[in-house]
Structures are given as C-alpha cells and as structure tokens.
Symmetry: C2
Subunit: 273 residues, 2 copies
C-alpha cells in the first residue's frame, strides 16, 4: 500500500511536498498508486488528490523477521495494518496458558480491526516469515473517512466482511469434521492466493501444522493424518509446506462447499483496505 519493501529499507521517512516536482515523482514511485496491491487495496473510486491524502497518512514499517511481533496482546491500539508481503498469524492467550490462533493474514489483508472497540489489541500478531506491512494510524484514517464517503463506506464494508468470514469459520468449527475443516482451510488459502494473482493450485503454507491444527480446533496429529489421507486419495500433493491441489472438486465436496458459493466469494471478496 505505501512503499515497496526495498524502498522501505533504503529510504528515510519523508513527507510529500506538493510544490516540489522532483520529490513528487520520487514519491509517486513508492506511493499507493504504484503498489502492486493497489487494486486490491483501495476503493476503486478513490483517485487523484484523495489517493494522495490516503497515501499521506500511511506510515512505513521496517520489515519483520520471522517470529517478530507486529503487536502484542493488550498493546494500545493506534493503527490498523495491511500486509504488504509475507504473512502473519494472530493469536490470543487462553486461560490455561495455551494460545489460540485466531487468523492468518496474507498480502493485502488487514490486521487490527478487532482492537477498535476496546482500544487495545485482544490478540498478538506474529510474522510467520519475513513480512512487511503498511501501518495506517487509525485516528487519521477516521478523519480522512470523515472527508471521503467512499473511504468510510469501504471501511464499513471491510469490517462487515470480517464479521461474515468469522461466522463462516464458526460454522466450520461448530459443525464440520476434521476432514472438512482442513479441506475448507486449504481451499480458503488457495482462493486468497488466487485473488492476489498467485497460483491457486500450488503454493507454500507459511504456517506450521501446529498453527493449522490450533486454528481449526484440532490436534496436530489429526491434521497430519488428514494431510496423509488427502494424499493417499490423490486429492493433493503435500511435501511439507509445499501444497499442490489436484482435485479441487473433491476438496469442495469434502469441505461441504459448492463451487458456486466459492466463486461468489471470490468475486465479492476484498478483505483489504
């Protein structure tokens, strides 16, 4: 959304100056409008001055290394974040000292929306690999949304999307077998890669089996057995984190999702800013 990763590291923070043409050109290079996530990230109706305004409130973050935290549980809420590259998991501590993985976040996806209500982060966010994010200070975003109706609308849409997605996951956790959960999970990841222009049939999972199991409310052993079963049945190839989906239709069958549903989801989905 803001700058590319490389630029992030090389350049020092700077404010754009409208007056200076040269600076403007440089700035443009690394601004939202040049970002590869542009069409994912922005309400399509935003452009020109408005885009620049949005661009101006977005801050750079130094890339996170694997296992670095973007924020911790109980940390003060100041910003929401957009994944630029890499991936993160969010998780909360449970009473018995365990952790509960609440989500995985791929490029173009948002983090921190659950913290607005209480002003503090109810979960922690940890990078699963080298990851860079754009930071969007929430106060500024609110002010800007006050000015730009389409931005306000987009914000509300995104939060609504998140609520909807969570409800789908609740259904998964409440009603589906281990098999169906893992299948739905893989299809979800596949779809999200597809939306970002990557292959939907072949990809790398950045999270461990443990994280997947935790997220799906299963034991690691069960997840492992399901991976094995899918492979035996020839539905997928899985070499550790490298996944190839051979029979998407079979997976949809197992997950209890019909193709139609998923396509609609694909078209409508914009879990992004």
């Amino acid at each position: 959304m803001s700058e590319t990763e490389l630029d992030l590291e090389v350049k020092t923070p700077r404010r754009k100056t409208r007056q200076n043409k040269i600076v403007d050109i440089l700035a443009t290079k690394v601004a939202c409008k040049e970002c590869s996530l542009h069409q994912l990230c922005l309400p399509s109706s935003i452009d020109g001055n408005d885009l620049e305004k949005l661009d101006n409130i977005i801050e750079r973050k130094r890339p996170l290394k694997r296992n670095d935290h973007l924020f911790q549980v109980g940390g003060q809420f100041t910003s929401i974040y957009v994944v630029r590259s890499g991936s993160l998991k969010t998780y909360s501590p449970t009473v018995d000292g365990q952790e509960q993985v609440t989500g995985f976040h791929l490029p173009g996806e948002l983090l921190g929306l659950d913290a607005i209500g209480k002003g503090m982060h109810p979960c922690a966010a940890k990078a699963l690999e080298t990851t860079s994010v754009c930071e969007v200070p929430f106060e500024n975003l609110e002010l800007l949304a006050q000015e730009l109706p389409t931005l306000q609308h987009q914000l509300l849409r995104l939060m609504s999307k998140e609520i909807f997605d969570d409800q789908e996951l609740m259904l998964l956790l409440g009603k589906k077998t281990a098999e169906a959960r893992l299948s739905a999970f893989l299809l979800s990841i596949s779809l999200r890669f597809k939306q970002r222009g990557f292959s939907s049939t072949e990809f790398y999972l950045s999270m461990s089996r443990n994280d997947i199991a935790n997220y799906l409310g299963l034991a690691v052993e069960t997840v492992s057995r399901m991976f094995t079963r899918f492979q035996e049945d020839g539905i997928i190839d899985a070499e550790r984190k490298h996944i190839v989906i051979n029979d998407r239709e079979a997976m949809q069958q197992i997950a209890g999702i019909n193709e139609c549903c998923e396509d609609i989801a694909a078209e409508e989905t914009q879990k992004t800013l």
Copy 2:
C-alpha cells in the same frame, strides 16, 4: 430507539416538523431520547440537534410475532436493526439443508452488520418471541456518520466489538468442552441481561435447547445432559427456560473464564448503536 411498541401500532408514520411546536412535543415523547435503551444505544456525546437527526432517520417496524422473519437469507441489505424488546436468532442454511444458528439478539443489540459487505443478508433473522425492532436505513446512517464524527466512531467500534465477540465464540467452538460451552453461553446471556438492568442470576431463555445446541456446535442431547449435570451439582436451577444461576464462580471455572475478564467485558461492552 424510535418509538415505544404501543405507539408503533397506534400511530401512522409521520415526519417531524421543526416549525410545529406541538408536533415536536408529541414526537419527543416517542423519540430516541425517551427510549429506555437510550444510554445503551447512543454515543453519550450525541445530544440536541444531533440526536434529533439520528432520530429522524430511524424507522418504525410493526412488532414481530414469534417465528416471524425480520429478514431472509439473500434478502437485499438496506438497514441495520436494533432490538427494542423481545429477542431474535440469526441463522444460515448449510449445504446439507440444515441450519446453523449464528447468534441470539437481545434488547439493545444490533442485527445486520454482516450484510454490509455483500449488500445482502448472509443469514436470516427470526423472532424467538414477540419482538419489536428499530430499523436504521443504512444509507442514511452512513450519510449521518459522515456528518457526525462520534457516530462514525461508534459504528466502527460496534463492528469491531462484533468481530471481537465472534473470535471469542470461535475459541469456544474450537477448544472447549461441551460443559465449558454451555457454561460460557449461560454466563454470556446473564451478563447481557445485567447490562440491560435485568437480573443476572435469574432469567428466561427465549431460545430452545435445540437452538442452543446448534449455536454451540453440540447435539441437543448433550446440551440437555449438561443442564442436568449443572443442576445435580447445584450450580444452576433450570426449570425449562427459567434459569437461576446459583454459583457463578463455579460456572466461570467451568467455562474457563476468570472473573476479571468478564468484568472488563461488562464495562466495555456496548454491542449497540
């Protein structure tokens, strides 16, 4: 939020006219500021003219009888709703023709936030008893939120709260035993009644055991057995839908919630408009 139930039935819709003092007085009687849910419902900083503006966009709905639908799956999204009295359940159809209960909604709580993203309702809402709601046309609300920063903020807070709550439920569904789920459910209902000024130790459940089981991802029989167990242990008294909580601490223990957490939740909670 808008008018009282009785007024709803007796009067025909009318627009308030600023010029006419008499009409204004009549209107005031049934307006937001007179509503018993006022302090639950509104950002405390809204008053005077702003309150009147909000009041103006809210529409009346004829009370729903038990099993009436407020909206259906796939129905066009136009408004969000605030429960005024009574209660509703929301549910989605699943692939295998079953239904999945996604939530229960008590007075002061919102419905429809999950529909903003796609512009259509992903779930249906059905009254569990005689129920009246205030309808808030979303376009108008968006326009008004554009004008009133505190309203925009409140909206975002509410949606964030919903996301947070859903994540708590995901934890429940993914990681907790049947016992813990039912206990947490009863504590949640208890807390919500408390926030509305009703007893937190004695209340009526408007939903069936079937709905509870469905919501918690359990079989009816299991829920029934857990009710029996809680009674045998003296933690609750349950006479059908009439529940008395005898030992809240034991329930928190079982649910895996510590008192501290719940108190914080109680203070902060405003799942309302």
